[in-house]
């Protein structure tokens, strides 16, 4: 098992480099392949879209990139470091320090305020209590929700909830944001607003975005678009 290197600059290296990545499940009667020999390179400051029909393996790829699922075979290097063989603790650390997730269902902690929702990643990263309000406010400002900081999460509109989820993904300054259908449940106007925020964040140059979507208009706003079919990834 490897251990996670300290955060470092890309220095011209790709942020994500995946080679011959495969994932399959066994159900007792045989092996079901989900991902077959995926190759993917994502550079800092890049917005990458992965499109494809349901069940094609898009979300599985995203989960493997975020180390939420183990791969069956292949290589995955993050800033030059092999991260597929990290210990369970280092995988958690990787998610804390390098990755921000945004899911389709605007998954906020319903019984908490916006502040508390954004505080959890900082709590797990053991960020000092004094430092937290500033970082939370800054993350909320990036999605124009600074005025909602102490609002109960369950009283926000759908668009606001997804923007809070984006802010929560940003609060620990991740190197990559992995977004699974982030605009799937939003109307066009709110969807555009979320995409606009993503574009601004990526424009800073340090952070990359990998977005899984069905929506061609969402994909159009990305620098590169990939299609996934039967577990094989093609660049469009």
């Amino acid at each position: 098992m490897n251990s996670l290197n300290p955060p470092e600059q890309a220095n011209g290296r790709p942020l994500i480099q995946v080679e011959r990545l495969s994932k399959h499940y066994s159900n007792g009667r045989g092996v079901i392949p989900v991902l077959r020999g995926i190759n993917l390179k994502v550079n800092p400051g890049e917005m990458v879209a992965v499109m494809g029909p349901s069940g094609s393996g898009k979300s599985t790829l995203l989960f493997i990139l975020g180390l939420l699922l183990p791969a069956s075979s292949g290589n995955y290097q993050f800033l030059g470091q092999d991260v597929l063989n990290l210990t369970r603790g280092d995988q958690a650390e990787f998610r804390r320090r390098r990755v921000g997730f945004v899911f389709q269902n605007c998954d906020l902690f319903e019984n908490s305020t916006v502040y508390e929702n954004l505080e959890f990643p900082l709590v797990y990263a053991k960020v000092d209590r004094q430092e937290r309000p500033g970082r939370i406010a800054a993350a909320l400002e990036k999605v124009n929700l600074g005025h909602r900081i102490y609002h109960p999460a369950n009283q926000l509109s759908g668009g606001e909830r997804q923007r809070v989820a984006v802010a929560r993904a940003l609060v620990n300054h991740p190197r990559v944001i992995l977004a699974d259908e982030p605009t799937g449940q939003l109307d066009r106007q709110h969807g555009n607003m979320v995409l606009e925020h993503f574009a601004q964040i990526v424009a800073s140059g340090d952070t990359a975005l990998v977005i899984v979507t069905h929506d061609g208009q969402v994909a159009e706003r990305c620098h590169r678009v990939f299609s996934m079919e039967d577990g094989i990834l093609y660049e469009n």
Partner: protein, 391 residues
């Protein structure tokens, strides 16, 4: 995850899901209050029960006297012996008595009477009270008063009724004023006896025995077993005596203890059952919480929460739940102890109460950990993706 964050998050969760938890908290609070009240008040209640029980029997009365042989008939107990017995642990009070068989004369009618010379402690020691008039006190003994208290049966035999306070009775050419009549409950032979102050008996009754009879009352029936074997040693350490007899109503002690054992077993079982139910309740609500918060667990893991952090959070919630309930139970226990103290006129030790509260809180923490451990382990072992996709 820092401890301060862990506690803050856990307490917030409890407050926000309070409707889910209040039933369990109530069970634990009542269990803790019961535990504190029973332990703190147990001895006082037992003492009170014991005092009341004297009306029905003599379970905790110990009688000390000499064998009825001519060789031992001159022996008497010293005041220092009495004092040493008073200081024995588990002894409530001690009384010294003398007695004689003589005749009384009421309006020319002669009647044989058993007369006891008793000190002011005698009534408490033997659990006696008056139905009419009053019983001899320290002053009566100090002034060698010619006052007599009659057993109710003797009063009726001599005077035809028991409204005899103020009547006169002649014994050995001395006139005694009847100052009281004993209450006719659980007296046994004492119904037919008469009682005069100890000092008066020694002064005025010819043929009175030496001070050869000690009555000793223990605090509880548990103390009888401990006190009885010590009595001969304490007496021998104070004075040389022969033919000493220590009489204990073992049959009554054993019967009372058997009844008390069952009562205590029932009470402790009830408390234990309440706490076990509370523990089962914590287990159930925490399992339900883990199930209903599966997506939350998945999200937190996706944010980088380690397995230990998830486990610590659910465990802390379970401990906070039982600890808060126990704290509320301690307050209820305090109220119950205060009310019971007023009702039975007792003053339980503060130290014992504090120990009970500390034990209650400790048990609550152990209960919280024990009942919350499995649900917390379940939460920490969840696979992230299946947790996030849980509907």
């Amino acid at each position: 995850m820092r401890l301060s964050d862990l506690l803050r998050v856990s307490i917030l969760q409890l407050v926000r899901h309070r409707r889910r938890y209040w039933g369990v908290m109530l069970a634990i609070a009542l269990g803790t209050a019961g535990f504190i009240t029973i332990i703190t008040m147990g001895r006082d209640l037992k003492e009170n029960f014991n005092r009341d029980l004297e009306l029905l029997g003599r379970a905790t009365l110990i009688k000390v006297y000499f064998e009825k042989l001519p060789a031992y008939s001159h022996q008497r107990f010293n005041e220092s012996t009495l004092e040493a017995l008073r200081h024995l642990t588990g002894v409530r009070s001690v009384s010294l008595a003398v007695h004689a068989w003589t005749q009384s004369n009421h309006q020319g009618q002669l009647y044989p009477v058993t007369i006891f010379g008793v000190d002011e402690s005698f009534w408490e020691v033997c659990g006696l009270s008056s139905q009419k008039g009053k019983l001899h006190n320290l002053e009566d003994n100090t002034v060698h008063k010619r006052a007599i208290v009659l057993g109710p049966e003797l009063a009726r035999t001599l005077f035809g009724n028991d409204n005899v306070v103020g009547s006169k009775l002649e014994i050995q050419e001395n006139l005694y004023t009847v100052t009281g009549v004993l209450k006719d409950v659980g007296l046994g032979d004492l119904r037919q006896f008469s009682f005069i102050p100890f000092s008066t008996a020694q002064d005025r009754i010819q043929g009175i025995s030496p001070a050869n009879r000690i009555y000793l009352r223990c605090l509880t029936w548990d103390d009888v077993e401990k006190v009885a074997p010590k009595i001969p040693k304490v007496i021998q350490a104070s004075q040389f005596v022969q033919g000493l007899k220590v009489e204990v109503a073992w049959d009554q002690v054993n019967r009372v203890k058997a009844v008390a054992w069952w009562v205590e077993l029932f009470i402790y079982s009830s408390v234990a059952a309440t706490l076990i139910l509370g523990g089962a309740g914590i287990w159930t609500v925490m399992m339900a919480a883990v199930r209903s918060r599966t997506r939350e667990i998945g999200l937190k893991k996706a944010m980088g929460a380690e397995d230990q952090a998830i486990m610590a959070q659910f465990l802390a919630e379970a401990v906070c739940l039982s600890f808060t309930a126990s704290l509320a139970g301690s307050f209820l226990g305090l109220v119950a102890v205060e009310v019971t103290s007023i009702l039975i006129n007792s003053h339980p030790g503060q130290g014992l109460f504090i120990i009970c509260v500390a034990m209650g809180l400790l048990v609550a923490v152990v209960l919280g950990v024990a009942a919350g451990l499995y649900p917390s382990l379940q939460a920490s072992r969840m696979e992230v993706v299946s947790a996030i996709r849980y509907e």
